[in-house]
């Protein structure tokens, strides 16, 4: 890894279909917004470098790949995440009432017990609000989450949300340091092919 980068963090986004998860992600990473954005296709995760408290931090922000549509995220989606963002649409009561289920799933499958959680009420640019700020705040307090209302469309709160989340993660000991993450498993990739070609590995080197 680039020595100037302090760490890479896995952050995931969950919540009901259509609340604007991908829009928040794309607003933050690419500073774009598409009103007509179709259901998520082809976005696995996005990587962005940000600087928090003087530290360069690489964020890998994972999208649901649309698997939340029928509430069928894979448990493996949650593995090793340091931060989780739960999103609801302030103009959709239904997306808010489903938060309990999303929170339970997060609690069940997140492998870092001290994962930092944030609640985002999205689409505050719209007028037909169905969920008040107080209700969102109450849910966040109940579950010890960071809370912000935002709009991916107008950019309101988006940058702030991610930065605050990262700041909180960095301040949480035992969540991201190299000695913690190195205890996990090894990753396969052609870049990290340890060892030699088979012809001189193992037994056969001697014959």
């Amino acid at each position: 890894m680039d020595p100037s980068v302090l760490t890479t963090l896995k952050i995931l986004i969950t919540g009901e279909s259509g609340v604007g998860k991908s829009s928040l992600l794309l607003r933050f990473t690419d500073d774009t917004f598409d009103n007509e954005q179709a259901a998520t296709i082809g976005v696995d995760f996005k990587v962005k470098l940000i600087n928090v408290d003087g530290n360069n931090v690489k964020l890998a922000i994972w999208d649901t790949a649309g698997q939340e549509r029928f509430r069928t995220l894979t448990p493996s989606y949650y593995r090793n995440a340091q931060g989780a963002i739960l999103v609801y649409d302030v103009c959709s009561r239904q997306s808010f009432s489903r938060l309990d289920a999303w929170f339970d799933e997060l609690e069940t499958y997140a492998t870092n017990t001290n994962i930092v959680k944030m609640l985002i009420g999205n689409k505050i640019d719209k007028d037909r609000r169905e969920v008040s700020r107080e209700e969102g705040l109450k849910f966040a307090k109940k579950h010890s989450m960071l809370f912000i209302e935002a709009s991916a469309k107008t950019k309101d709160g988006v940058q702030m949300a991610f930065e605050e989340l990262v700041q909180k993660i960095i301040q949480t000991p035992g969540l991201w340091e190299a000695d913690v993450t190195s205890q996990r498993g090894l990753s396969l990739s052609d870049r990290t092919q340890a060892g030699q070609p088979w012809s001189c590995s193992g037994y056969c080197s001697m014959v």
């Binding site: 279909s17 690419d30 296709i41 082809g42 976005v43 696995d44 995760f45 996005k46 990587v47 962005k48 470098l49 940000i50 600087n51 408290d53 690489k58 890998a60 790949a65 649309g66 698997q67 549509r69 029928f70 069928t72 894979t74 448990p75 493996s76 989606y77 705040l137 966040a140 307090k141 109940k142 579950h143 010890s144 989450m145 960071l146 809370f147 912000i148 709160g157 940058q159 702030m160 949300a161 930065e163 605050e164 990262v166 909180k168 498993g185 090894l186 990753s187 396969l188 990739s189 092919q193 340890a194 060892g195 030699q196 088979w198 590995s201 193992g202 037994y203 056969c204 080197s205 014959v207």
Partner: protein, 537 residues
């Protein structure tokens, strides 16, 4: 459900087992619209990994692995999908500990303290269940050869980014005569440092390995053995004793009747896989083998695959030309060009004896293993050997201080009967504490069915995918999945590399730098806030 499943689509996959998931991802990857359904509420079908509670619920220790559905009236030409076929049967759970703390005095504080100090930890049933989520129990535990088909497809496709692995740290074969485990040497140094075998044996072992690895280049020399058994070849080269055990039990993963060619293929894979990621040829999937089907499903979803669990499929709709045109799922007709189903849902499949399995929780390692170890207990009388996988806490299989042990063999009678001998040989399951053997704390026995699927009876655009098999690795299933994909989409690339998002790093503009002070608008909450928040209400 608020949303509709797209119909028609290119491919409907029923069941989220390994082959189904691989084919789903490969098809989505080339732009085909895939709908992937499972009537279960979890991914992986007979390949799934469970926490303690979910295992008990799913295996119905609560009685049902798959739920029954009432079959409505079907048109005669349609094929009913047999949702009520149980892939898993003969399930027997047994506890070897009481629900009370087993220390001399019953003071629970004392109990906590003794846990820290003694190497032998005393667990109670309720404590184990309290740690339910720290357990990852595989229905179908399998290893990856570091240079096998599964590792190659994971790397080539980029799907490897969804999983992490541990090296298998030890390979052993059980010596029935001596009643002990023999470590199988996995490197030149291992071979020459071994005190178990003589210098002559060492040279002989290395010679045979070299011959096998070079098999393709020297096919002339092997002509006389090619049609025979591996045993025959070893006899001809006077391979006896321990080195024969190493070769047959572990390196070739063979038994008395394995044919020469299959055994040599395994030897080659074993030897070529050594040294890529560690000293043994094998990798274990962190959090369990059930991660792998999920990884392929995720890839499929990223490329537009639609995922829907808890969704029943009642039957396959067959057109007048004998081709399937879709399925009926929760009373909705879903149309597709191709249909893929699990064997155990195939209406024409016949159950045959499959695999005998046991999962144990033990209180100590058989092998001083701190990662994962594979142990082979050979069986006499031409029966299949019992493969034992021992997983430590570092594989995420269980909490520290415990071990999860998987036993796998071919089903002859029931899992309990088929595995009794092996379990008695290496574990202690009774009160008389044998200090040199690990104690069994909990055990679960079950059988996994295999299926005979008559070829050519299904409509030509319906594929039936085999479930778990006896092999220790996934490679056969990867090959089968690729074959199905290539028969549906001839000439198309099988899981080409996905661009790595890591390569597209977006640099934030300079104003992205965060001030050290918390930003206005963000509310940081804590449980204390919650209380004050509630009182204000």
């Amino acid at each position: 459900m608020g949303e509709d499943i797209p119909s028609p689509c290119d491919l409907i996959v029923v069941g989220t087992g390994l082959i189904e998931s691989i084919v789903a991802s490969a098809s989505s990857r080339i732009g085909k619209q895939v709908v992937h359904l499972d009537h279960r509420d979890f991914y992986g079908s007979s390949w799934a990994t469970f926490s303690f509670n979910s295992l008990q619920n799913t295996l119905g220790l609560v009685d049902e692995f798959t739920e029954h559905t009432t079959q409505s009236q079907k048109e005669a030409s349609d094929l009913n999908i047999s949702l009520n076929s149980k892939a898993i049967c003969n399930v027997i759970e047994k506890w070897f500990i009481s629900d009370e703390c087993k220390t001399e005095n019953d003071d629970s504080q004392e109990c906590e303290a003794s846990r820290d100090k003694t190497s032998r930890i005393t667990w109670t049933k309720s404590e184990l269940l309290k740690n339910s989520r720290k357990f990852n129990f595989d229905i179908t535990p399998k290893l990856l050869y570091s240079r096998g088909e599964m590792v190659e497809v994971l790397i080539n496709s980029g799907i490897c980014r969804y999983a992490e692995f541990k090296n298998v740290s030890g390979i052993y074969t059980f010596d029935g005569a001596e009643g002990c485990l023999l470590p199988v040497p996995c490197s030149r140094a291992d071979v020459f440092n071994s005190k178990e075998i003589t210098m002559v044996e060492k040279r002989l072992l290395m010679k045979v390995l070299a011959m096998c690895v070079d098999y393709e280049n020297k096919s002339e020399e092997f002509k006389e053995y090619e049609s025979g058994s591996f045993d025959n070849f070893l006899n001809a080269h006077k391979i006896q004793g321990k080195i024969r055990k190493y070769l047959v039990d572990s390196v070739a993963m063979a038994n008395d009747s394995t044919n020469f060619k299959d055994a040599v293929k395994n030897v080659q894979k074993f030897v070529r896989s050594i040294g890529r990621y560690g000293n043994t040829p094998f990798l274990w999937t962190l959090y369990g083998s059930g991660e792998l089907p999920q990884c392929f499903c995720r890839c499929s979803a990223v490329f537009g695959g639609i995922y829907c669990l808890k969704r029943n499929t009642e039957n396959i709709i067959v057109g007048s030309d004998g081709q399937a045109i879709g399925i009926v799922s929760d009373n909705q007709n879903l149309m597709a060009k191709f249909i893929l189903i699990e064997d155990c849902l195939n209406p024409l499949a016949k159950i045959k004896p499959g695999i005998s399995r046991a999962i144990l929780i033990t209180d100590r390692s058989l092998t001083k293993n701190d990662q994962a170890a594979i142990i082979t207990v050979p069986s006499a009388n031409g029966k299949d050997p019992v493969r034992i996988l021992e997983l430590s806490a570092s594989t995420m299989a269980c909490p520290p201080g415990l071990y999860v042990v998987h036993l796998i063999t071919r089903q002859v009678k029931t899992a309990v009967e088929d595995l009794r001998e092996a379990i008695n040989a290496v574990f202690c399951s009774s009160e008389e504490e044998a200090l040199d053997k690990p104690n069994i704390i909990w055990s679960l026995h079950f059988n996994i069915n295999e299926y005979d699927c008559p070829e050519g009876k299904l409509p030509p655009n319906v594929y039936s995918c085999p479930g778990p098999d006896l092999f220790i690795d996934f490679d056969d299933h990867v090959i089968k999945a690729r074959n199905i994909f290539q028969s549906m989409y001839p000439g198309e690339d099988f899981l080409p590399k996905v661009p790595d998002p890591e390569d597209v790093v977006l640099e934030g503009p300079s104003e992205d730098i965060v001030q050290e002070r918390p930003l206005e608008g963000i509310v940081e909450t804590s449980p204390e806030d919650q209380e004050s928040g509630e009182t204000r209400q």
